[in-house]
C-alpha cells in the first residue's frame, strides 16, 4: 500500500470564499442544484449527491460579546474505520492504495446502507443514477499526480493536501502556534490514528468544540452498536412479551371474575 494521503483543513485559515465548493462541483461535473433559502451565506445546508464540499458559516459570539463567524470547509472524512465501507454489501465501496474511500458507481446497487452508516451524514443517494455519491478525494486527479480540486483552488492554504504523517506533524505545530496566539480552544479533529474511527484521512483544525461545527464530539459507527442494540432489542422483546402475557392473564382473570 502506498503512503496514506490526506487533506488537512485548517479552519483558522478559511475565509469562506467557497472556491473549494465550486472547484469540486466543476471538476466532478456535479450539475445544477436548485438551492433553498437558508437565511445565511451558507448554501446548501448539508451534503447532497451534488455537494461533496460544503462551506459552513457558523455565527458564534466570542467571550467578549463580539461577533465571530466561524468558517469551515467540510468534506467526507475518508475514515480509517469507514462505516460506509463496512456496511456496503456489494463491495462497491473500497479503500484505495492511498487510504481514501471510494464508491465504485458500476457496482453500487443503491441499497443505501452506506447512507445510514456514515456518522457524518456525508453519503447521499442520487435518484437519477440510483447510486450512492460522495467525495472521491478526486480519485482521477490523485492517480495522475494532482491534488484534489478543492485543495488546488483554496487561496489561503486552508485546505492542504499531502502525505498524512507530514500533515499531522504540521497540524500539531499549528495548534500550538494558535494556542500561543490566544485561541485556547484550538484543537485537531480526527488527526489521531489511535483516536475515534482510527483517525480521519480528511482531518481538521477547529477553533471551537466539534459540535459548534455540526461535528459529533466522539463519532461512532452505527455498526458498533449492533451487539448492544441487539441485546437491548431482545431484552425489550422479552419485557414486552412478558407484559403482554401478564396483561392477557389479568384479562382472563378479570373475565373470570365477571
Amino acid at each position: 500500500m502506498a503512503r496514506t494521503l490526506a487533506m488537512f483543513t485548517d479552519t483558522s485559515l478559511c475565509i469562506g470564499c467557497r472556491a473549494c465548493q465550486v472547484a469540486c462541483k466543476q471538476w466532478n461535473e456535479l450539475g445544477l442544484e436548485v438551492p433553498d433559502w437558508t437565511g445565511t451565506y451558507q448554501n446548501h445546508t448539508h451534503f447532497t449527491d451534488k455537494t461533496f464540499r460544503l462551506v459552513r458559516f457558523i455565527e458564534e459570539p466570542k467571550p467578549t460579546g463580539d461577533l465571530a463567524w466561524l468558517l469551515m470547509s467540510d468534506v467526507c472524512k475518508h475514515c480509517a474505520e469507514a462505516g460506509c465501507l463496512d456496511a456496503c454489501p456489494t463491495g462497491a465501496i473500497y479503500r484505495t492504495e492511498y487510504g481514501t474511500v471510494n464508491i465504485n458507481q458500476d457496482v453500487c446497487n443503491g441499497c443505501r446502507y452506506c447512507v445510514s452508516s456514515c456518522p457524518f451524514g456525508v453519503v447521499s443517494f442520487n435518484e437519477t443514477t440510483g447510486t450512492a455519491k460522495k467525495c472521491t478525494f478526486c480519485n482521477d486527479r490523485i492517480h495522475n499526480g494532482l491534488g484534489p480540486a478543492c485543495a488546488k483552488a483554496c487561496p489561503t492554504d486552508s485546505i492542504q493536501f499531502g502525505f498524512r504523517d507530514d500533515l499531522v506533524t504540521k497540524a500539531q505545530k499549528r495548534v500550538e502556534t494558535l494556542k500561543a496566539m490566544g485561541f485556547k480552544d484550538a484543537q485537531l479533529y480526527g488527526a489521531d490514528s489511535k483516536g475515534f474511527l482510527g483517525g480521519l484521512n480528511a482531518f481538521f483544525l477547529l477553533l471551537s468544540k466539534p459540535s459548534t461545527y455540526s461535528l459529533p464530539e466522539q463519532p461512532k459507527l452505527p455498526q458498533r452498536n449492533v451487539v448492544v442494540d441487539s441485546l437491548l432489542s431482545v431484552g425489550s422483546a422479552i419485557v414486552i412479551g412478558l407484559g403482554a402475557l401478564l396483561a392477557f392473564r389479568d384479562r382472563e382473570q378479570g373475565d373470570g371474575n365477571a
Binding site: 475565509i15 467557497r18 445544477l32 448554501n43 461577533l67
Partner: protein, 823 residues
Amino acid sequence: MTTNLIDLQHSDVIMATSNMAENHPVGFQWVMKAKERGAKFIHVDPRFTRTSAAADIHVPIRSGTNIAFFGGLINYAIQHNLYFRDYVVHYTNASFLIDPEFKTATDGNGLFTGFDAAKGAYDRTSWKYQLDGEGNPKRDLTLRDPHSVFQLMRRHYSRYTLQMVERVCGIPQAKFEEVAKLYCSNSGREKTGTITYALNLTQHTNGVENIRALCMLQLLLGNIGRPGGGVTALRGHANVQGATDLELLYHELPGYMAQPLRDAHPDLTAYMEKETPKGGFWVNKPKFFVSLLKAFYGDAATKDNEYGYQWLPKRAKADAYSHQHIFVDMYNGAIKGFLALGQNPAVGGPNAKLARSAMQRLDWLVVKDIFLTETAEIWKAPGVDPKTVKTEVFFMPAAPAAEKDGSLTNTMRLIQWHERAVTPPGDVTSDAEFVCTLARRLQALYAGSKKERDRGFLAASFKYGDNPKEPEMVEVLKEINGYATEDITDKDGKVVYKKGQPLNTFAHMTDDGKTAGGCWIYTGVTVEGPDGKLVNKANARKPADDKDYLGHGWGFAWPANRRILYNRAAADLAGKPWSEKKKLIWWDAEAPGNEPSKKGKWVGLDVPDFNPFLAPDAKNGDKPFIMRTDLVGGFFGPLNDGPFPEHYEPIESPVRNLLSKQQNNPVAKIWKVPDQQNELAPTGSAEYPYVITTYRLTEHHLSGVMSRYLPMLAELHHSHFTEISHELADELALKNGDMVTVATPRGKIHVRAMVTNRLKPFVIDGKKVHQIGVPWHWGYNGIAELPGSRGDITNDLSATVGDPNVYIQETKAFMCNVKKGVV
C-alpha cells in the same frame, strides 16, 4: 497600488477598509500570512463580513464617513506624537510654507479659501507654496511655522476628535481609541502598516479625497515606499489596472497623460508647455507623448505635422465624457450610437434605470459580450413595451480570456500573460480581432477622404503580425512596450537599436520621432533576447523564493519591474535602511558607479525607484517621491475640492454635517436630468430614513454576466437579497426570508430580507440610524430553472451624482426606505 501583495506579509498591522477576503480572496492569502507572523488585522466596514471574521478588531462605520475616520486618526497621531518625524520632515512637504492668504476649512466653516459660490468652484490662487528668491519653496524644518503644511494640517484636523468621530461615524470612543493606538503605534524605523481600499472609498462624492486622507495617514506614519507599508489599492476586476494604464478613460491618454483640451491645448507646443512639470520625472513627458503619437500614427507622424497632434480628439471641457456624463447625454439625445464591449450598463452603472431609458433612445447599439446581457436585450426591460424601443441592437459574441492570448495587469501593476486554451467556437471573436476588423473596414470606407482630420485615422495601422484577420497579441504588447522607428546610434555612431527593435527602458524614449511606444510605463515588458527573438517578460514564471521574496522573475510589474514604488523612502537620509528588519534598498558606497572613476549605487531587494547612481548627499539625493514636481510626499495637494480632505455628508444623508455648516461637498457634481430621472432625498428625510450601501459578493462578478449563468456559482446565493439587522427587522416586523421592497426616489426593487447579526444600527449624534446593505449582481436575464440567477437591478436605486475630480458615482452611501412585502 504603491506596494505589492506579497509584501503584505511583512506588515506589523493591516487595516482593511474594504471587504478584502470576499472580493480579493487570492490576495488575502498574504494578510493571512502576515497574521501568522504575528501582525494585527483591523477591519473597518459597516457590515461584519468574511473579512471581519479574520480580523482581530472589527470596526463598524457608518457609510460615507471615511474622512471623519481618517481625519480622526491623523489628529490622534499628531496629538500623541506617534508620527514618524524624520520621515515627515524630510520626505514630505510638511515643512513647506503655504501662502499666508490660505485658510483651512477649520477657519472657513467647512470651506477652504477661494470658494466661489456663483461658479460652484474654488479659486486656487492662494493654494500654493511661499517661494524664496531662487524660486524654491520656503521650508521650516522645525515644523513650527503657522503657515507650514504641518501646522495647517494640525489645525485642519484639530476638530476631528474622539468625540467627533463617535458622533459622525458611530464608532464608540473606546473602540476608536483602541484602533488608533494599535494602528498609529506601528510606525517608525522598526514597524510599518498598510491600509487596503477598494470601491468602499472611491464610490463617493468625495472619493478622491477619501484616498488622499488614507495616503496622508500613511505618509504621516512613514509607511510609503517601505516593506510592509504602502497604499494597497485593490482593483475591481482582473484587468482594471491594465484598462486604467492604457486609459480606457475619457480624460487621459495611455500612460497617465491628459487627453488634450480644445482651448487649453491648441497645439503640441501649448500642450507640452502646460502639461510638462518643471521638476520630477515627468519632465520627460514630451518623450513619452511624442512616442505615443508615433505608436498611433506611424510614419505619418512627423515633426512638421506636430507628430499628428491635431488628429487627436480634443475635449471641449474637463467636465464632460465620463460614464455618468455619457448616459445623461444619451438620454438627452446628444449621443445616437453606442458600442458596449464587455460592459453591462443596464445593470452595472449608477441610476441603471436612467441608463436603460437612455439606451432605449439610441439609433443603434452594439453589444459584444459572452452572454446575452440585459444591455443586449434592452427592449426586454421590465415595464417596457418592446414596440416603443426603436434602438437597433447588434449582438456580437465575445471570446473570454481562456479563448484568446493576451495580458492582464493585476492590482499590483503586475502584467501577466495568458495563452489561448481553446479556439472560440463559431462566430465568436476576441475583442482585439473585432476592433481591428472594424477599424480596417472603416478605413476602407474613408479611403477616398481628402479631409485633413481623417488622415491620422487612415494612417494608423491595425495590422499586428502576418494574419490580417487575427491580430497577434504579442505584437500588440511590443507596440505598447515601444520600439525604434529607425536605426538609433550613439554619439560614436554605433547602432544602439536597429529599426523595429523593442526598447529596453523608457529612459531610451526620445521626443524626435525616433521611438514609438503605446504606453511608456510598460516599456521593458518585451525585450529582444541574445538570439534576436522577442522575449515576453509578462510570461516569465519564476516564483518568489527566499532570495527574491518579491518575485521579480514572475511576470513584469510596471514601471521597470519595480515591486514597491518610492522605495528610496525605505532608507534614511544617509541612504541606510531605517532598520535591519525593514530594509529594502540602500546606498552601497563601494559598489561600482556609472563611470569607471566613480563609486556608489543604490542596491537591495527591489529595483530602486530612483536614479541608481544619485548619492544620498547629492542634490535631491534625499527626495524619494520622484514623480512629484517637488520630489516629496504631499500632505498639501490641491484637488478640485480642497488641499486637505474635509468631511462632508453624502449627497443623501440621514443627518446634518456635524463638522461644519457645509452639508455636502461644495463642488460635487449633481446632474439635472429631465423627467424626474434623478430625484434626490433631502437630508434627514422621513420618507427615506435608512442608509443603504451596495456591494459585491465573492460568488459573483460585477453585473453577474460572468457568474449568474454558471449553475455552480448561481446556486451559492438563493436569490437577490438585502442584509438587515435584527433591530430594523423587529421595527418592520420582518422575518428572515420575507420579501421586501427597497425604494429610493429613483426606483424600487423587490428582494428577500436576510436578517442578520452582522449588521447593527449606529448611534449617530445620540440618535439611532439604521443601515442596510444590498449586493448588485442581478438582472432580468438569467436561467429560468435557477432562481439565484435572476433578480431586480440594485442600481435602479442609486443616483447620478459624482466626485468633482473624476465624476465617480456615490453608490456606497445613499438613503432608502424598506417596506415589508412587494409594494
